[in-house]
């Protein structure tokens, strides 16, 4: 019996190639075609892989119609086990430590199980993979820290305010990044979202799409008396919010912090605003720098994750050899 994995990923193939091989559904037709006892298809935006258990060796070309051999990899036996454990743990992901892939692996396994593609070998292999992924996640810092602008902003908001449900957010400007950030905050439970823009129509549109309300752009600074989080991303040439404008507005809210996310270039908020007591100003560079730091920290954790995986591969390899696979 042979345990193998054939596939391609972001490491070996560009998006066009991955798109060409992306498939929906299960590996059942393939199982019948190549005569495997068990087969499972894992298809995500970053990888397309087939895991199979066959009584005789199967060529990769029988699994995929390969027109670019360099884009494909093949792992067998313990190497296949190690690869799956790395994938499930997020060590092989484009954004190291991301946890979405584990859900996708679980979905692929469920689909294979329901279609009869996953038998006793793949069942045992994937159950172990889920265990390994959980262990890597809990025993290392591989998933720590935010790695995108939106998630960094949300994480910082959480570090300042804790629970975000009762917080008031004002979005100034209706750009894509501010919309994504507003959505990320809304997903954390923020219910009071206000949007303002030079074009009131765009403000209304964005407000509707994020479940907020539009406010008048002419007096938007006044909102700083009330809001907890300000997201700014207009196309203004000069700063809209200066220390001189903001300081008097803060007098009524001396005991409440104000978190300002300035994702505009050129910047909407004068840098010296950060010197005001209780104001935490982050521009696009500082948010990106934090995202980069988090990613670097995650990469430092890869070795610790590999150690955990190596132990499990050794254990599982022993079982594989014992079961003559």
């Amino acid at each position: 019996m042979n345990l193998f994995c054939v596939g391609l990923s972001h490491h070996t193939a560009n998006v066009e190639t991955r798109e060409r091989y992306a498939r929906n559904g299960t590996a059942s037709p393939l199982r019948e075609k190549i005569g495997c006892t068990e087969a499972l298809l894992l298809s995500t935006c970053n990888r397309v892989e087939v895991y199979g258990v066959c009584e005789r060796p199967v060529e990769s070309r029988a699994v995929f119609e390969i027109d670019d051999a360099a884009a494909f990899y093949r792992y067998e036996s313990e190497e296949c086990v190690q690869h799956l454990f790395r994938v499930a743990s997020g060590l092989d992901s484009m954004v190291v430590g991301e946890t979405e892939v584990l859900g996708q692996v679980k979905q692929a396994y469920e689909a294979a199980r329901n279609s009869g593609g996953a038998g006793p070998f793949l069942h045992r292999l994937f159950q172990r993979a889920f265990r390994v992924a959980k262990q890597v996640r809990t025993q290392t810092e591989i998933t720590r820290g935010a790695v995108s602008i939106g998630s960094v902003a949300v994480e910082l908001a959480g570090k300042i305010f804790g629970e975000l449900r009762e917080r008031k957010v004002l979005v100034v400007g209706a750009g894509d990044t501010s919309e994504r950030t507003a959505r990320a905050l809304a997903s954390r439970g923020v219910s009071d979202l206000r949007v303002t823009n030079r074009s009131s129509e765009r403000a209304e549109t964005l407000a509707m799409s994020v479940g907020g309300r539009a406010v008048d752009f002419a007096h938007w600074e006044e909102q700083c008396r009330e809001v907890d989080i300000l997201i700014s991303s207009t196309a203004a040439d000069a700063p809209l919010l200066t220390r001189e404008k903001l300081a008097p507005l803060l007098r009524e809210r001396w005991d409440r912090p104000l978190f300002i996310i300035d994702i505009a270039v050129p910047r909407d908020v004068a840098p010296d605003v950060n010197e005001l007591e209780g104001v935490y100003l982050y521009d696009i560079d500082s948010l990106q720098s934090i995202a980069d730091q988090s990613l670097a920290q995650r990469r430092e954790q890869i070795a610790a994750g590999e150690e955990i995986i190596a132990q499990h591969v050794a254990e599982f390899g022993g079982w594989l050899r014992g079961s003559r696979l």
Partner: protein, 263 residues
């Protein structure tokens, strides 16, 4: 025998401190259970020390400076055990263990465990002293939370986010914890202060003045938010200053008390 319990307790806190340092060095900031259990075990030994010493002296064991510091350390850990997990401030253990360790090491090494001639047990006096000490425990934890607030605030302000940042509680949660600890300490301290007038013993003027100054200091911090528009950062900084001053006063009060024929 009783000192051995305190030595064991100090060893537990040392283990927690070393574990914290090693974990921080390895960039692992999930202190969690190990530190909590090390501190909890230390608390058990502290309690054993106080029980044995209390039995020996036949009253609440705060008859000399050594016992006062041991009781203070016990009060800090007591409050930590009560509020740390409740307010999800588990990292507070990383700050609390060194503080308690330093207090106990000082108590053990300094020549201050001198038997002091005391009068017969007086319930009011014991209530007064023990309430004051537990209040100090709450003020110490407010000081620890204040330090955590200042570290977190500094990191957020300067955008230099070290890994410890990821595990410090949110600013607003820390501020809420500081205010609760201050109120708890203030109520206990007030009860201790008032009960001092029912002890039936002459109170040294310097002792009353010092105690009232500490009380006013904390009252100002608690009401300063409205009176002087103190920001949460100011409150956090004042907690550190106030506790440092209060410990100095406590030392002074105990020193003065020991010069008197009985207390």
């Amino acid at each position: 025998m009783d000192r051995q319990f305190l030595i064991l307790a100090t060893a537990c806190f040392l283990v927690a401190v070393v574990r914290t340092l090693l974990a921080f060095r390895a960039r692992d900031f999930r202190l969690g259970r190990f530190n909590f259990f090390a501190i909890a075990l230390g608390f058990v030994f502290q309690t054993a020390f106080l029980a044995v010493r209390g039995h020996q002296v036949g009253r609440c064991p705060i008859t000399n400076l050594f016992e006062v510091f041991a009781f203070l350390a016990w009060s800090i850990v007591l409050i930590y055990m009560l509020v740390g997990p409740a307010y999800r401030l588990s990292l507070m253990g990383a700050f609390t263990a060194p503080l308690v360790f330093v207090i106990q090491i000082f108590a053990l090494l300094a020549p201050i465990d001198v038997p002091h001639q005391t009068s017969a047990a007086n319930p009011w006096l014991e209530f007064h002293a023990s309430m004051g000490m537990i209040a100090y425990g709450a003020f110490a934890l407010a000081c620890v939370a204040g330090l955590m607030y200042l570290v977190q605030e500094r990191q957020l302000k300067t955008r230099h986010l070290h890994s410890i940042f990821q595990h410090l509680p949110p600013l607003t949660d820390l501020h809420a914890a500081i205010m609760r600890l201050l109120w708890l300490g203030f109520v206990l301290y007030t009860a201790g202060l008032i009960s001092g007038f029912f002890t039936g013993q002459p109170l040294p003027r310097i002792k009353i003045i010092c105690a009232v100054i500490v009380w006013i200091f904390y009252a100002v911090i608690l009401q300063g938010r409205y009176l002087f528009r103190l920001t949460p950062k100011h409150v956090a900084a004042l907690c550190v200053v106030a506790f440092t001053a209060a410990v100095s006063v406590l030392w002074g009060i105990t020193f003065v008390s020991q010069q008197l024929p009985s207390s």
